[in-house]
């Protein structure tokens, strides 16, 4: 079965050795991704979503970092592979779009050259072919007058245009999996909509899979087929986008949904808040990491960590001892 999956992540754990002790940023994460699927990874800051996405493609820091488990991208085991081996899949199998389009581009290099670089180094193209392909890519990501823009510097472009350039670089070697880490976070709403539409369109056209990493539930709601919700380095709930939004069982998922302000709310709607804040990853309890903030928490929650267990819908699972009822008419725990 796993042959037709593009990505299989199993028990992936990333631990950083810090001055304060070992910090497990990602703990026993397992999920998989079909071809031509968009998966959303959602979580607040510090939930481990960025470290997870980097560990999946082997981009974690080399020093003081231990990775266990496995992450197999199209048959290639990333965990334990050397830098040289990983370089054979970076670009061609998997590529990443980072959050900040200003710092992920070289400010003193023309954007065209930055796209050429990927093509020439990874695909061995000559200067002329690389330039032609770079202009094609700029056109593909919707940059107007690509021939003139080829020679501009990142500083001459707006944030939205820069993010398009970053996407063009990521697409240069036609990856099968595109990881987008908060691709629209610094952007305005109208530009955000343009970039998300572009990613959708490119996914269909180029038959890619996309992993959308974000803190914004609005970004994943209409753009993904499945969602992984992370809290303190672990998956606390996963399922189809509809199941996670409408049939969630984990109280954290509900709290996250309820605390986001909605445009459809009346003005002065009081928001439901989660008390406290995310835990310090250096001294996590043995129990559920969300227990200190959870209104349904019992002694068991504080002492024993719940494992992911299946809910009734296929592919929907959650980690909670006192899950929310399946139907709203059921009695709350």
């Amino acid at each position: 079965m796993s042959d037709d999956k593009l990505l299989v992540v199993k028990d992936l754990t990333t631990t950083f050795a810090t001055a304060g002790g070992d910090l497990t940023a990602v703990a026993n994460v397992s999920f998989d991704l079909e071809r031509n699927e968009t998966l959303g990874i959602v979580g607040e800051s510090g939930s481990g979503k960025t470290v997870l996405s980097r560990t999946i493609m082997g981009l974690q820091p080399r020093l003081n970092t231990t990775v266990t488990g496995s992450s197999i991208i199209d048959g290639f085991e990333v965990v334990g592979a050397s830098e040289d081996e990983k370089r054979t899949i970076w670009g061609t199998e998997v590529a990443m779009v980072f959050q900040d389009p200003m710092t992920s581009l070289n400010p003193v290099m023309r954007i065209g050259k930055q796209i050429d670089e990927a093509l020439r180094v990874r695909l061995g193209m000559n200067r002329k072919d690389a330039k032609a392909r770079a202009i094609e890519l700029l056109e593909l990501v919707g940059i107007p007058s690509p021939v003139e823009r080829y020679n501009t510097y990142p500083g001459q472009l707006s944030g939205g245009m820069r993010q398009r350039v970053v996407i063009a670089i990521a697409l240069a070697c036609s990856p099968k999996l595109l990881m987008a880490d908060e691709p629209t976070t610094g952007l305005d709403v109208t530009i955000q909509a343009q970039i998300l539409n572009l990613l959708d369109e490119l996914k269909e056209r180029l038959k890619m899979s996309v992993i959308l990493v974000t803190h914004d539930l609005g970004v994943v709601a209409t753009r993904t087929s499945r969602i992984v919700v992370m809290y303190a380095g672990r998956i606390v709930e996963t399922g189809t986008t509809r199941d996670v939004f409408y049939h969630h069982r984990m109280p954290y998922t509900r709290a996250l949904l309820e605390s986001s302000p909605k445009v459809s709310n009346k003005s002065h709607t009081r928001l439901v808040t989660i008390p406290g804040r995310p835990p310090n990853l250096l001294n996590l309890s043995d129990g559920c990491s969300f227990a200190p903030r959870c209104k349904f928490a019992t002694d068991q929650c504080h002492l024993v960590r719940p494992e992911l267990q299946p809910s009734i819908e296929p592919g929907h699972s959650f980690a909670c001892w006192n899950p929310l009822p399946i139907n709203s008419e059921a009695v709350l725990p």
Binding site: D188, V189, T190, Q194, A221, T241, S260, V263, N265, S267
Partner: protein, 333 residues
């Protein structure tokens, strides 16, 4: 305006022009609005539309080039020295980045006490009691955290401390510039609820500047939408969001992401990016991206007209109320 209440703040024809290498950049180009006592006016717009500059010009952190800002009937653009300083105690500002707006090397209680120590309104035990009271009001335990340094706090806690500091002089008007943009959703909800509570308790009037439409709607009584230095629409929050009259507002709302998989996908996205404020288009500033623009829009600048009670729009072809459509609806002049 048909409103008969006396405004706390009356801004009329405010202009801010910056000079960059000899080029005039009109950041705020003739903005007029009123804020009534006890209400919250939301100011939304994309980056570069001049919303932050407007907020700063009200405080005279940047100098207005033209226009008047009347706080309780006194034009503060004409004030200077002592009179300006004393006017500023009646309006306070909370900034976006909570961590950099607090001195990391000062103790929390000294940060909150700073305005009091400047003005010496209260001293000794009374001062300490007031600071403890302010800190407990914002949810920071003064006996535990009062002596800690600002650098030891998280973003959400720093924002709470900023709020406490801004309330120390018992201001009438609070200008909140993107105060929750840097926070996680669960913390954002806590701060927004806190702001609503304090507003009621201290009888505050708020100017809430933000780019997030959902956040603005959740706190505002009225909302003003800015585009390229001008207010294109202003009206009661609920009606403005339900039936926007300006095409730009409709696009902005259409691009806002709702955390709901069943919410309509962006059927129409606004193409392109805002023009440069160094060289704004003639007539209506939105006409270069507006699907309904005609020659008239290029020739004449649209003046604010009332489309519903207290709902003003600056557009030659306002969208009909309660009927969202993009077909131009010509009004008889």
């Amino acid at each position: 305006m048909s409103d008969t209440r006396t405004p706390l703040l009356n801004v009329s024809d405010l202009e801010v022009t910056f000079y960059v290498h000899g080029h005039a950049v009109s950041a705020v180009a003739g903005v007029s609005f009123q804020i009534f006592e006890g209400e919250t006016l939301g100011l939304v717009g994309e980056s570069g539309c001049g919303k932050s500059t407007t907020g700063k010009a009200l405080m005279r952190i940047v100098q207005p080039t033209k226009g008047t800002v009347e706080l309780e009937g006194v034009d503060i653009t004409k004030e200077s020295g002592k009179a300006l300083r004393s006017a500023r105690t009646r309006m306070q500002m909370i900034f976006q980045d909570p961590i950099s707006s607090l001195n990391p090397r000062r103790r929390v209680k000294d940060i909150v006490a700073e305005p009091l120590d400047c003005w010496k309104t209260v001293t000794g035990a009374e001062r300490d009691a007031l600071i403890s009271d302010l800190l407990s009001k914002v949810g920071i335990d003064p006996s535990v955290y009062g002596n800690r340094y600002a650098r030891q706090f998280s973003g959400g806690q720093c924002q709470r401390i900023s709020i406490a500091r801004s309330l120390a002089m018992r201001p009438k008007l609070l200008i909140c510039d993107e105060m929750v943009s840097a926070l996680d959703v669960s913390v954002q909800a806590q701060i927004l609820n806190l702001l609503e509570d304090l507003k009621a308790e201290y009888g505050l009037t708020l100017l809430f500047i933000a780019h997030d439409l959902a956040v603005v709607k959740n706190v505002s009584d009225r909302v003003a939408v800015m585009y390229l230095g001008k207010i294109c629409e202003i009206g009661p929050a609920d009606t403005l969001y339900e039936s926007p009259a300006h095409p730009y507002t409709e696009f902005l709302l259409g691009a806002a992401l709702e955390a709901d998989p069943d919410s309509p996908m962006h059927s129409q996205t606004l193409e392109g990016e805002p023009p440069s404020p160094m060289n704004p288009p003639s007539g209506c500033r939105f006409r270069t991206r507006c699907p309904n623009a005609t020659q008239k829009c290029a020739d004449e600048e649209p003046l604010p007209q009332e489309v519903a009670p207290n709902h003003m729009v600056s557009c030659h072809y306002p969208l009909t109320i309660h009927h969202k459509s993009t077909t131009p609806v010509a009004l008889s002049d």
